[in-house]
């Protein structure tokens, strides 16, 4: 019997399995073709890049991987290495404390700036991330006083008194601002000053010793801590000053506008280093003869003025970007100038300026290393001064600069990534 199904030579009942695409059109080969060797010129670029990468890594990798992490001097490192290429990272394990805190900050008090640093993140969080509970802002307001007490020590009454003054000032402000902003603003300043003067005479001398921690003078601050402190203090102080300057520059009053323009253009026209020279050798002349203002404070003043001028320009850009209708809307609602600014203009203008302000903050944080030029021992000051000058580590160079670069890179890259996230987050217009 003949099976009919077998009489037909061959009938295909299903599709043949599809073949994989040719290796040149899929997978890594395709990716390589499209991304690295699309055209001859492209291929040359790829080869050049590979050579560049190889040259970089050839010198850098052995130095990094072969590094010595345990030794007590450069001579010890060289002994371990026996002439091979390798970094002497032992200087970091040995002197990390000096790099971070400076060489005169008391060793047993390192926990204080460390705690302040940890609390800084808690204080900065509600400012940086809007989703967090608003109540945390209370801690942000308290943080400057806590940080001051932790880092400088001394009598606890100093920060408490200044805090009380500011709280009283705020209460006065919130009472008076209903009638007039100017009354509230100046009333608050007056109230705070009165509290400080009266309180200062009331706090008895005995109290000054009670509840006090060992005080550390400003000149003992140093290392990366100094950079962080200068960066954070100056940026936070300069934002309100910058906003005021930007508003002044937009003002219709010629005198106010003139003063603000002169100030901004002057500060932006000179390098920061000359302003630091002013802080170190010239600013003392401007204070009353009996006052001694320490170098840290003078530097903070100059850097704050410096970044305020730059922030003013960013905020001015934000103000200029707002449509005129917003100003007119404020006027037609019958708001006066401070109300219109606080309730309508500034919230929108600042939102536009935030990325710019963050850029200024990153630039300023990087610029804080310039204080090493006026012989303050910040991170770079330590790297150029005391550490290579000590007999154990005389001649160490790249390891220290590598460490500084890594620290700054982490901080600045982190902030700029945050800024980009924020920009996406704040983009409410649908483009």
């Amino acid at each position: 019997m003949v099976d009919s199904t077998k009489s037909v030579a061959f009938v295909r009942t299903e599709d043949a399995p599809s073949l994989p695409p040719p290796s040149s059109a899929a997978g890594p080969v395709k990716w390589l073709r499209e991304n690295l060797f699309a055209t001859p010129a492209n291929a040359i670029l790829t080869v050049l890049s590979l050579i560049a990468i190889y040259l970089l890594l050839r010198d850098f990798l052995p130095w990094l991987l072969n590094g010595v992490w345990n030794s007590d001097s450069l001579a010890g490192c060289r002994e371990v290495l026996q002439g091979a290429t390798g970094g002497c990272f032992a200087v970091l394990t040995e002197r990390w404390n000096q790099l971070l805190f400076g060489f005169t900050y008391p060793t047993d008090l390192y926990w204080r700036p460390t705690v302040a640093f940890a609390l800084f993140f808690l204080a900065a969080a509600p400012v940086l991330f809007f989703d967090l509970p608003r109540k945390l802002l209370i801690f942000t307001a308290l943080f400057p006083f806590i940080a001051y007490y932790l880092i400088w020590g001394g009598s606890i009454w100093t920060p408490i008194l200044s805090l009380v003054g500011i709280i009283v000032g705020y209460i006065v402000y919130s009472r008076l601002v209903v009638s007039s902003f100017a009354a509230g603003f100046f009333g608050a300043i007056l109230a705070a000053v009165i509290v400080w003067i009266v309180g200062g005479s009331f706090v008895p001398d005995g109290f000054a010793v009670e509840g006090s921690m060992r005080s550390v003078p400003s000149r003992d601050l140093g290392g990366f801590m100094l950079n962080m402190m200068l960066g954070v203090t100056c940026v936070s102080l300069s934002v309100p000053i910058g906003i005021a300057l930007a508003l002044g520059r937009q003002s219709s009053m010629p005198l106010i506008k003139f003063v603000c323009v002169i100030f901004i253009e002057f500060i932006r026209g000179v390098p920061l280093i000359t302003l630091l020279f002013v802080a170190s050798v010239m600013l003392a002349y401007f204070f009353p003869p009996e006052a001694t203002v320490d170098l840290f404070l003078r530097v903070v003043i100059m850097i704050t003025l410096f970044s305020a001028a730059y922030i003013a320009e960013v905020v001015r850009g934000g103000l200029a970007a707002l449509p005129k209708g917003q100003y007119e809307a404020g006027d037609s609602l019958g708001l006066d100038y401070p109300q219109a600014m606080r309730l309508i203009i500034l919230p929108q203008a600042l939102k536009i300026s935030i990325p710019g302000i963050v850029n200024i903050a990153v630039g300023l944080f990087k610029d804080t290393v310039l204080v090493s030029v006026i012989s303050m021992f910040d991170l770079i000051g330590m790297i150029r001064g005391p550490i290579p000058a000590s007999p154990d580590w005389n001649g160490v160079y790249w390891e220290l600069f590598g460490f500084a670069s890594v620290l700054f890179f982490i901080c600045c890259y982190g902030i700029s990534q945050y800024s980009q996230w924020l920009e996406r987050r704040l983009a409410t217009d649908h483009r």
């Binding site: 106010i256 253009e265 002057f266 920061l272 000359t274 290393v369 090493s372 600069f401 600045c412």
Partner: protein, 391 residues
């Protein structure tokens, strides 16, 4: 009350502000006067005419330690302008290259350029200056390696020597008749410009396309080379000579290590910022423009030069000029590597030797202020000139 009357409110505020300002200025001036009187000092600029008494290793104008403080300041100013000028040119080259390559469709190049931009933008320029100076002075060998009849290192191409004291490059020697050659060259540059303009005009009027590539090179080079040989090769090269001296390289032009370090560091650091401006500028030109140009049948090089770049430049140039301003201001960091710019001479050695802090710093600020205001007025002029062409 005056403050509640809209007619006088602005005047009242300004009067209050004027009084407050006058009080503050008076207070500060009074403090300065008291402090100066207490220290027995006065404001006096006569120290500028006094003998400086220190040497400067790299000067563009004749200077010796017998010269005045004023000429030391001028040496510094010229050095500042020199390094700023050089750094502006190289930073633009680095920046434009990196910015264009960041948009390349080559994955590796793109990543490499992002790496360059991120790493240089996020680390302080001070660290870069010191590290590059370290590379120069620690990693390069001393000039001794190049000395003697059988040196341990050969001159690069027989022309350049890289030492930890700086880079030695050939210096031109201007013999008699060299002026003729130089003038010929300048004339040929003018001729090239005229020719290209003529070619463009002809193209617009008649549609006839003249070749520009080869004629340009020919007009530029042939007359100059011809004159060079006619005049009997008047321009020679002074090469670094390994045999002239036993202790140091002689001959050629020595570019000091500090200048190289600050120049290179500023260029590569600012180049990263310029790269971002260039990238943003090119991306700011909408894709429709490229597509429209392609639809008109333009080649990709023409699309870039005729359509994309003119529009991108409008976005790129203002921030570019403010980067030049930043270079000029950052060149004040030259003091860290011992390059004698104006901050190092006037604001450094002169200040320390004479103790005239207020005067020196005021003059220093004045100099930088003049530079900045000049540059920002250039930005304003440019912004106004491109504004006219906009809708």
């Amino acid at each position: 009350m005056l403050i509640n009357d809209t007619r006088y409110r602005s005047l009242t505020f300004q009067a209050i502000a004027a009084i407050a300002l006058a009080l503050i200025i008076f207070y500060l001036a009074n403090n300065v006067a008291t402090n100066l009187a207490k220290l027995g000092l006065n404001i006096d600029f006569s120290f500028l005419g006094a003998q400086a008494g220190y040497d400067i290793n790299q000067t563009l104008i004749p200077y010796s330690s017998q010269s005045t403080n004023l000429s030391a300041a001028f040496v510094g100013i010229l050095n500042t302008l020199l390094v700023a000028f050089l750094a502006c040119i190289t930073a633009t080259i680095f920046g434009v290259l990196a910015g264009v390559l960041r948009l390349s469709n080559n994955w590796l190049v793109r990543k490499l350029m992002s790496f360059y931009v991120e790493i240089f933008r996020n680390i302080p320029v001070l660290i870069w200056i010191l590290m590059i100076y370290g590379v120069m002075t620690i990693s390069l060998s001393g000039p001794k390696a190049y000395l003697g009849a059988e040196p341990s290192k050969e001159l690069f191409l027989g022309l350049f020597a890289f030492t930890n004291r700086g880079i030695y490059v050939p210096a031109p020697i201007w013999g008699p008749g060299s002026m003729v050659v130089v003038v010929t060259f300048i004339l040929s540059v003018i001729a090239v410009i005229a020719y290209r303009r003529y070619a463009t005009n002809l193209l617009y009027r008649t549609g006839k396309l003249l070749p520009t590539g080869l004629p340009t090179i020919a007009i530029l080079l042939i007359p100059t080379i011809f004159m060079f040989f006619v005049m009997g090769q008047p321009i020679g090269l002074d090469l670094p000579d390994p045999l002239a001296n036993r202790f140091n390289l002689r001959g050629g032009l020595q570019i000091g290590a500090p200048l190289i370090a600050i120049w290179f560091a500023l260029s590569i650091y600012t180049g990263a910022f310029i790269a971002e401006n260039v990238r943003a500028g090119i991306q700011a030109v909408s894709k429709g423009q490229t597509e429209a140009a392609a639809a008109l049948g333009l080649r990709s090089a023409r699309i870039m030069s005729l359509v994309v770049l003119p529009q991108a430049l409008r976005v790129i140039i203002p921030p570019l000029i403010s980067q030049y301003l930043n270079i000029t201001k950052n060149s004040s960091l030259a003091i860290l590597v011992g390059y004698a710019d104006v901050t190092a001479t006037l604001g450094g050695i002169t200040l320390n030797q004479t103790g005239r802090a207020i005067e020196c710093i005021l003059l220093l600020m004045l100099f930088y202020l003049i530079i900045s205001l000049t540059i920002s007025s250039v930005i304003n002029v440019y912004n106004n000139s491109i504004k006219l062409k906009e809708r």
